[in-house]
Amino acid sequence: MPDLIPGGNVALREVANLTMLRIGIEYAGGDAVLTDRLGVAAIAVGAHTHHDDVVFANQPTTADESTRLGRDRASVDIVLSEVPDDVERIAVVLFWHPATGAKRTLSQLRSLRVVASDQDGRPVTRSRDLVEFASSTTSLILTEVYRRNGEWKLRLIAQGFANGLPEALNHYEVHP
């Protein structure tokens, strides 16, 4: 299977026995100020998306526990059958946690990929290197896992923002 490019999607119904999807983020390069302060967030987007629908460092799971951060905090696990019906999509965002007196962007990574796998670690799909889409950005919407006609699909997004996680949240109308 070729590497996904932004805008590309995968129909998850074609993945045999898929119950849980793991969206992993693989990166290399960058100094400690960048890599030690990288975070992953997942936003369960519905008709009315709220703070409580954002999974990140201080709330590593949704209330229904269908979407949660992986133990490595560099992945998001989605139990597809348990995602509430009113959730249209789940967006996965990589962001840099701002630090006073330091400025970093995700483009300072040497490589950045999304790797999706199933509950047993079998690969589902992976993206091409996304660093070129991270220019001047401090947050990047990597993927959306979304419903279409009752079926789950994964789309690679790679949309970056210069103003960190809050700007990515605003994109989904979650306003800090």
Binding site: H51, H97, P98, A99, T100, G164
Partner: protein, 190 residues
């Protein structure tokens, strides 16, 4: 610091702490002037504030919890306006200037105390002022009354409770040597 809050912090779910009661008095602070003992915040206040976390602009007159995003992203800043000639001082946070303090919310913390500081051992008249606390989407303003400082004078304490940063205005009318205040607020090891 309030021992009941310590117990709450040590417990994963404060709503299940039926056995934790508010104390009848606080730890005795350092030297200094002891005036009216402020009433401790009731445990119910903590539970109420966790149920209704704040965002936007709030005058800080009671215990509040920040919303989850404000509690976990970026840097919380503390800026002092007025309250001359005191400067800002903190246990558990970084002093940027003598009137500005920062708390990096990327790093886990248990508690922080932000205080005014005047020379120890002699009374210093401090004018009215305001402490402005800013986090993502939240601005808290604490009015500081004029008074007499004898050293470190606690203004607010902050606790990490579950997913939230809880901010307690101390209204502590006592001040004293840093070591003694640190001890009273539970910051000295052993």
């Amino acid at each position: 610091m309030s021992s009941w809050l310590t117990a709450v912090m040590d417990h994963p779910d404060p709503r299940s702490l039926d056995s934790v009661a508010a104390p009848t008095s606080r730890a005795t602070p350092a030297a200094a002037v002891v005036t009216v003992e402020p009433a401790p915040f009731a445990r119910e206040s903590l539970l109420e504030c966790l149920d209704k976390p704040v965002s936007g602009h709030v005058d800080l007159t009671d215990i509040v919890a920040l919303d989850r995003l404000a509690s976990g992203y970026g840097t919380m800043t503390f800026d002092l306006d007025g309250a001359s000639p005191a400067c800002l001082f903190a246990f558990g946070a970084r002093e940027v200037t003598d009137r500005a303090i920062e708390l990096d919310l990327h790093e886990p913390f248990e508690k922080v105390v932000v205080a005014l500081r005047t020379p120890e051992g002699r009374p210093t008249q401090v004018s009215r002022g305001r402490l402005r606390i800013v986090a993502l989407g939240v601005t808290l303003d604490l009015a500081i009354p004029a008074g007499t400082g004898f050293g470190v004078w606690p203004l607010v304490s902050l606790y990490s409770v579950g997913q939230h940063v809880v901010v307690v205005p101390e209204f502590d009318e006592r001040s004293g040597p840093a070591d003694a205040v640190a001890d009273a607020y539970g910051f000295l090891a052993d």
